[in-house]
Symmetry: C2
Subunit: 243 residues, 2 copies
DNA sequence: CGAAGTCTTGAATTCTATCAATAGGGGTGG
DNA sequence: CCACCCCTATTGATAGAATTCAAGACTTCG
């Protein structure tokens, strides 16, 4: 399964905002080595669990950015739609990932469920309080933004410099990395070819041909259309020609 | 000229780090509506003025990220080099822009002078103190990161969805926007065709042909290779097909 | 004025998109 | 349980866009 190990303590039904003292206490409890997802997990009970069906929208581009989210299960795509039907997928979010941390009043992108999705939504004000009162969380927020930026830059390189085969190789490697998958393990491609194509700036046919080519050269195995086994990660890395 | 109006108060020769009390006082003086560049300007005397020739390197990918910078004059490119000679330019920095705000210990990209460049370099520790002691600066840092991310996402769309002509149109529009240029004003293209190509994921020949095509359709005027006049911004915007 | 570098233009090639048809997979209903 | 259908993915053929290769024009600067 694509699911990362994510602790799912008590499926909270808590409302939007608890009492201030309790929140503060919980905030202080956050340990120092915690990542941003960890900090959100620490205030989990102040968030609302939500479920979405495949292709359902979590929020739309232009919606007020008044919540932040932590993915519990499933895959989410962050994308931008154009009037003429074109679509660009900025990134896929996996279990454990967080989203919605923008300074602008409106969401700059849409978030849609690729698979069935379960997530926790926190009121923006609740998280702001966390950031205000907890220096660790504040720092992790900054770190998260910085990492997102670097990821985006890495992907800019992929789109700016790489050919189709290289892009697909890069995509598989990054997915494997995020899923903590080793050589020989199976990767579940939860997203469609169309999703991958819109993420890599290619067409479904080209994605399909690239995967076929990778299979042909023995670099990957393809048990079925939505599962891939990385047989030779070194070769993949050479193809991806990273940095 | 491409130069934005940037106040250049006394060309400071101050060393790396002043006395703590003085710094703190200056930090507090920072006004609330200030942007991140403003905040840096407020502590200008603690930075060191530096000059670079065309194509000189400010810092390299992998160098320790121990300074932050504010561009005073000239154009800087943020880029990534590959062993095989490929290069990708993430972005161009113009006068008034800031760079170097990353959480990682190393610089993820290189910074190179496109033109002659004059900038002010601040020790990272000095800026960290500012961020620690001044909530306004902290918030502006976050805002800056958030905006950088959105810019990167916008550019991902350009590379992922747009054709050559559309990319060039987008590039010109963004440049005009950043330079506060109105319809009919002249834009100085301080960067070479090769730079633009490496930024848009195209080749110099394609850039050249696209510019010729835009000129042919009367959307822009091209007095010379490094100056462009936007004659019909509406048409450009249609071409760019933004969002 | 001449030389080097940069930009433009042209022709041929290559890569990817597009168009079209087939194959596979999962779910539904008989 | 199987047959059928719909949706998605694959494969093939063709067309189109951008790259590559190559030559010529323009700038800039010594």
């Amino acid at each position: 399964m694509i699911t990362l190990s994510t602790a799912r303590t008590r499926p909270s039904t808590a409302g939007m905002m608890g009492n201030a003292a309790a929140i503060t206490a919980r905030f202080d409890a956050a340990q120092t080595g915690a990542t941003l997802p960890d900090h959100l997990q620490a205030i989990q009970s102040y968030g609302a669990r939500q479920h979405y069906q495949r292709n359902e929208t979590v929020f739309n581009q232009g919606d007020p950015a008044d919540q932040v989210y932590r993915i519990v299960d499933g895959t989410v795509r962050l994308c931008r739609h154009l009037p003429d039907g074109r679509r660009y997928i900025m990134d896929f979010l996996l279990p454990g990932d967080v989203m919605g941390f923008v300074e602008s009043p409106d969401q700059p992108v849409s978030a849609e469920a690729v698979t069935e999705v379960s997530l926790i939504a926190f009121p923006r004000g609740c998280f702001d309080r966390l950031a205000r009162e907890n220096a660790g969380a504040r720092h992790q927020l900054l770190r998260h933004m910085s990492e997102s930026l670097q990821m985006a830059q890495q992907h800019l390189f992929v789109l700016g410099c790489q050919k189709a085969n290289e892009r697909v190789a890069s995509f598989l490697l990054r997915l494997a990395d995020r899923l903590d998958v080793m050589c020989g393990d199976r990767i579940d491609l939860t997203m469609s070819r169309q999703d991958i194509a819109d993420h890599l700036g290619l067409t479904i046919e080209t994605i399909s041909r690239s995967i076929t080519a990778l299979r042909g050269s023995g670099v990957i195995l393809v048990p079925n259309a939505h599962q891939i086994i990385l047989r030779d990660m070194a070769a993949l890395r050479v193809l991806a020609a990273e940095s």
